[in-house]
Point group: C2
Chain length 209, copies 2
């Protein structure tokens, strides 16, 4: 079997972590760089990822996550937050970053800047959905890299975004939590690791046109 | 540099494909299996991926994609479609699949079935957003595997979903196109391959709590 497919088959949504095992710094750097390299609409990266290490904060977040033990027992907790607005400052930051990286002048990037600027007037509900979706691409990349490094992960939509907002003061930062991923190492007695992955047949998943 | 990071850096959003180069069958099988192994909320895989090979259909879809040439010139065109409703038949299919795969009885899965059933009554707008988000995870996996196989890709949100619906008769199948990905091989003269990737600093992307 192809190695990538082996790695993806090794992965499962961990229910119980071995809290004594921690992700090493060099692997953490690879996980973060994976998120950074994830594609996003117009390259805007209109999100932020909070890496929660503080145990007290993690306990509070567990209460807002239906008590799921992974939130406190995994080595790391990543909270993906979409922007709730695109500010002029942010667009300037990205345009300046583009100019600097690609050695272009700001006037060469005027059209690009105006194009990005059109997102500033986007309806706020639509904007939140759009920025949230981008974080799911990053999650896909993150989980694949984790599996390839033999680091376990659990993606979670089951948490209270308002509760996360309260604990992490997200709305005042223009952020909304839309996705959580715990990362670490499966406990030996997590029975879910022995369960066969359930997937529909390719004939039900794909249609050739 | 770590090989995964090298692979992700090799990737860029291709603007111009070499239409003479086709993805080999064995690689296509790996790309499809990657999508199949992608995690989804409750394991429901509430989406379908249309693999468009028919050149006439691809021309029609190009018209609904602001004329982007990748739609016709890439080796393959994948259209990710979220379910617009979760039917009882679909839940039965997934429960039966679970029973078969894990050698469980249907009565053991009664609780799981009821849990899935709760999604049947979800408000249709919310359901569409929720199923759409899941396809973005699959996109992340797909693009990473493609890069690791040295296959190029271009993710696209810039298309007319209603136009796609007309060409592919999606709504009568309970589907809505929410994401497109072209796959193939970059043209030698695609100038975008030489441009430096623009990413904000880790200090702007991550926050340690």
């Amino acid at each position: 079997m192809n190695q990538i497919i082996k790695d993806l088959n090794w992965r499962y949504a961990v229910k119980k972590y071995d809290s004594s095992k921690k992700i090493e710094e060099q692997d953490l750097a690879i996980l973060k760089e994976t998120i950074s390299l994830s594609p996003s609409s117009m390259g805007l990266q209109a999100y932020k990822v909070l890496v929660i290490e503080n145990p007290e904060i993690r306990s509070k977040l567990q209460e807002k996550s239906f008590g799921q033990t992974q939130v406190t027992e995994a080595s790391h907790l990543f909270v993906f937050c979409g922007f709730t607005e695109i500010t002029e400052d942010y667009i300037n930051l990205m345009v300046e970053k583009t100019a600097e990286t690609r050695n272009q002048t700001l006037s060469e990037l005027e059209g690009f800047k105006n194009f990005l600027g059109s997102k500033m007037t986007m309806d706020s509900d639509k904007l939140e959905i759009w920025t949230a979706k981008q974080t799911y691409i990053a999650l896909g990349h993150l989980m694949q890299t984790a599996a390839q490094l033999r680091i376990d992960s659990t993606p979670m939509e089951g948490f209270d975004p308002h509760g996360y907002d309260e604990v992490l003061n997200l709305s005042e930062k223009g952020l909304k939590a839309n996705l959580v991923c715990t990362l670490g190492f499966r406990a030996e007695d997590d029975i879910y690791q022995h369960m066969q992955k359930v997937r529909k047949n390719h004939t039900d998943l794909f249609e050739l046109v």
